[in-house]
């Protein structure tokens, strides 16, 4: 059975801190890994990673994929209260063309 695991499940930091969120997976026919940010409403897209070792960056957020060790990390530097959200990791598989989601990491950034 395809599985996506995220850690930590919950994290509380102060503004200005740097955080690293982890996502590991066990799936057949891996195609890509995606990160989403979910505040009160629908998840919004952050990154899609397909190749190992290539960092994707957007402002203070960056992410990288390791297809050999089957994991990805999402880094957020100089955190702000607006970064408080649930961060979801999902893996797209070729079989069934399905997105398998992890449980999410709930990040709380305190002022």
């Amino acid at each position: 059975e395809d599985k996506v695991v995220q850690s930590p499940l919950s994290l509380v930091v102060h503004e200005g801190d740097t955080v690293t969120l982890n996502c590991s997976y066990e799936v057949t026919n891996f195609r890509s890994l995606l990160w989403y940010k979910q505040e009160k409403k629908a998840p919004t897209f952050l990154f899609m990673l397909t190749s190992s070792g290539i960092e994707k960056k957007s402002g203070r957020l960056s992410s990288i994929l390791d297809k050999k060790e089957l994991f990805s990390i999402l880094n957020i530097t100089a955190t702000q209260t607006g970064d408080s959200a649930i961060y979801l990791c999902a893996v797209l598989t070729n079989y069934g063309q399905n997105f398998v989601f992890g449980p999410g990491t709930r990040l709380s950034v305190l002022p």
Partner: protein
Amino acid sequence: EAGVAQSPRYKIIEKRQSVAFWCNPISGHATLYWYQQILGQGPKLLIQFQNNGVVDDSQLPKDRFSAERLKGVDSTLKIQPAKLEDSAVYLCASSLGTGKLSTGELFFGEGSRLTVL
């Protein structure tokens, strides 16, 4: 570009009642998904459509849940009869499809929050 539309946003019903949710995906998106997200958990796939055909409904509780996508555009998800454990947010998402031309990205609607009392 209009996003994925869902309605209703909120619904409160008593157990054993029925409820229906509606989703209109982004125009041109061939693939449509219904996810169930229970508080504190990640989204769990209920059903996936490719145009108007079902690709995966292996996790859909078929004794009480049903879904259709007539004409390959809008979709409805029905629960009848509802149970307490069905309380969740029901997210609809769409994508271009997952063929060679697809970015693989999912676009989500704002969700329908169901509370079963």
